[in-house]
């Protein structure tokens, strides 16, 4: 597992989560490598433990009903298993990768299967660019209709 030497995209830090949630970003990155490399179900279990509650919360906050949020979470986790080999921690942080998988699900539903793991493909944001304004803009976009 290569060390994170380059982080091109500013990503949320998972280190803070480590103190509260028992898993650091590096731990989860190791889990991703184990899932991609040897279909390690125990490692996948740790990823599910971290992301399932957040995904459910994320979908509920965007207006999904609880049952719907759980289904979307299942589908996102399935995509996480299937696409694990595409994850490259040097290009995007893991929550970003999971967000893109969840977003692409909604694109599938809206009928756009061709879009696009571009976040994962290439990250070229200026290093250290503050996320704040982008977060407000993205939140507004998520809450607008299609």
């Amino acid at each position: 597992m290569p060390r994170k030497t380059v982080r091109l995209a500013p990503g949320p830090s998972l280190r803070a989560v480590g103190e509260a949630g028992g898993a650091t970003g590096d731990d989860l990155d190791l889990c991703m490598a184990a899932v991609a490399g040897r279909a390690d179900k125990a490692a996948f279990g740790r990823l599910v433990q971290h992301f399932a509650p957040r995904l459910i919360g994320f979908f509920v906050e965007r207006g999904a009903r609880r049952a719907e949020a759980e289904t979307l979470t299942l589908e996102t986790l399935e995509a996480l298993w299937r696409e694990a080999a595409l994850y490259d921690p040097r290009r995007a942080a893991l929550p970003t990768f999971v967000f893109v998988l969840a977003r692409n699900l909604s694109l599938d539903r809206a009928g756009n299967d061709l879009a696009f793991l571009d976040a994962v493909g290439e990250a070229e944001a200026a290093p250290g660019e503050p996320l704040g304004p982008a977060t407000a803009q993205l939140r507004a976009a998520l809450e607008g209709g299609t």
């Binding site: 995209a9 500013p10 990503g11 949320p12 989560v17 599910v48 433990q49 992301f51 399932a52 509650p53 957040r54 995904l55 459910i56 919360g57 994320f58 509920v60 906050e61 609880r66 979470t73 299942l74 589908e75 986790l77 399935e78 299937r82 696409e83 080999a85 595409l86 995007a92 929550p95 970003t96 999971v98 967000f99 893109v100 977003r103 909604s106 694109l107 809206a110 009928g111 756009n112 299967d113 061709l114 879009a115 696009f116 793991l117 571009d118 976040a119 990250a123 070229e124 660019e129 996320l131 982008a134 977060t135 803009q137 993205l138 939140r139 507004a140 976009a141 998520l142 607008g144 299609t146």
Partner: protein, 205 residues
């Protein structure tokens, strides 16, 4: 280096998965050649990751992990999604060009999961005029080859133009090669002028 880009809010909606299929496809074609916009989309996606990480934590049902494993086992035969290599256009089947008057050809593209999207390619011979057309709702146009101008500006390969509601356009190609554009509309584009009104029903455009 493009001079015209999608609006920043359009890039945010693209990153959020809240742009309709046709416009989203045009934006993806733009991203294939525009580093600057790719960087914006990447930033919005990182913001999405941050929102996910900050989301309220709701305990999943006890059987969530088992249910996920069952899904995975049922779906093992599904191959991983292939990344688009150069442009999302490569992943689409292109129907043959159809003629629309002298020097103008068009085809409607069909997105596998959104066949109803108003997504077209238009090819206009050099020094040709595209038919005058109007549209309701915004239009998204990516210049793939050549150049054209209209009453608002001049657009080169790599440029993406977002035209607002209701605009009527008379694009004129001024490159030495044919101009090829990808265009998405949120409603049916209407040809205007006597020739266009006459041609439209015949062509099923």
């Amino acid at each position: 280096m493009s001079a015209y880009h999608p609006y920043d809010d359009t890039l945010a909606r693209h990153a959020a998965g809240r742009l309709a299929a046709g416009p989203s496809f045009v934006v993806a074609a733009h991203l294939a050649t525009c580093r600057e916009c790719r960087a914006r989309v990447t930033l919005f996606e990182a913001a999405g990751g941050a929102l996910l990480e900050e989301a309220c934590v709701l305990a999943p049902p006890a059987e969530m992990f088992a249910a996920t494993l069952r899904r995975i086992e049922q779906a093992v035969e599904r191959a991983p999604r292939r990344l688009p290599t150069v442009s999302p256009l490569e992943a689409l089947q292109s129907p043959p060009w159809r003629r629309l008057g002298a020097g103008v050809q068009w085809r409607r593209l069909s997105l596998p999961q959104a066949p109803q999207a108003y997504l077209y390619m238009l090819k206009v011979a050099r020094h040709g005029c595209a038919p005058r057309y109007a549209h309701r709702g915004p239009a998204y146009i990516q210049v793939l080859q050549g150049a054209f101008h209209d009453e608002h500006g001049r657009y080169l390969a790599g440029d993406c133009i977002e035209a607002d509601d209701g605009a009527a356009h008379r694009p004129v190609v001024d490159s030495d090669v044919a101009c090829v554009c990808l265009a998405a509309f949120e409603s049916h584009p209407r040809l205007t002028g006597w020739l266009g009104r006459w041609l439209q029903p015949l062509l099923g455009l």
